[in-house]
């Protein structure tokens, strides 16, 4: 049984939107059933490795309905199958459930997505910035963030030669 069939059997055909390119399987799920789908994939379908979590900002994207897409890339280390699970969240408070309880590796991945896109992960034990400095206020990979920043990189004291 393919992974698509397993998912449909378990959750019904309406829950998903499947697509495929070569051996690249993709499933779009609604945010409400994301956690149960991922739990099923981890515990019953053998997707034991979470390769990556990332996000996309669809601001001003033609035909896009939702603002953010959150993407989970899963790998079954037994069969080598890969599955890409995607869900959509919206402003003003984009939030998805944390999958830290399923894959411990989600810890830093979720922190990175939070740092760059400001999508919060409900249930994450330690949701802090991971790349940008703590005092940074914005989310730099959002499309409405200016290319050159808001002047954060200039907030440092200038040391002159005489005082050093």
């Amino acid at each position: 049984m393919t992974i698509e069939e397993q998912l449909v059997q378990k959750f019904g055909a309406n829950a998903f939107e499947f697509s495929q390119f070569r051996d690249n399987h993709r499933a779009v799920v609604a945010i409400d059933c994301l956690l149960s789908v991922l739990t099923f994939l981890k515990n019953d379908a053998g997707f034991d490795q979470l390769s990556d979590i990332t996000a996309v900002d669809y601001l001003d994207f033609p035909d896009a309905v939702d603002r953010f897409g959150v993407v989970y890339i899963l790998l079954n280390t037994q069969t080598g199958e890969r599955l890409i699970v995607k869900t959509f969240v919206n402003d003003p408070h984009p939030e998805v459930p944390s999958v830290f309880s399923l894959w411990r590796g989600a810890d830093w991945l979720e922190r990175e997505v939070f740092d760059m896109f400001g999508i919060s992960f409900k249930g994450h034990p330690d949701l802090r910035r991971i790349l940008m400095p703590e005092e940074f206020t914005a989310f730099p990979l959002r499309k409405d963030y200016p290319l050159r920043g808001r002047g954060e990189r200039h907030n440092f004291p200038v040391i002159t030669r005489a005082e050093s």
Partner: protein
Amino acid sequence: MAVDLPENVFMTQLDAAANWARSNSLWPMPFATACCGIELMATGASRHDIARFGAEVMRFSPRQCDLLIVAGRVVMKMLPVLQRIWLQMPEPKWCISMGACACTGGVFDTYAVVQGVDRFIPVDLYVPGCPPRPEQLLRGLIELQDKIKKTGTFTGHEFGKRTLPEGPLPMAADEIRRSKQEQLLFQADEQ
């Protein structure tokens, strides 16, 4: 009254003697954060051999160095570290900004990269290039030795005269304007 000196005693000025010693034993602090650092290592390796100019003693503690070589781009998170290292180096000290990134930010005009370390620390010498060839860095070193020999003093009081920031303003006028606009937009978004 002329003093008869033995043949192996030389007369010189204190400044000149100090400059001679300092310029030929510059101990670099390699602050290598990116690809320029590789070229800095090549400069230290046998083919180019920075030891010919007395600067081969790379120290990884700022307390033992007198030449800061900033090789590579410096990001916002790294700049406080760089400033602290600069402040920890004992006098007299000099700073070489190596490569396009350290001098101006290079092609990385993004939210995170500092647009030239000279905005925040005093720089004595810029080495352009992306990356500069080891020859270029050596040339820079020779120029710096020249500078020390010409302007250095025993007490180092020439440093005390440099009381003004020497680089470009941390923020040019249009950057200030733009960042204020952005801040307003951001605040409007938040509400």
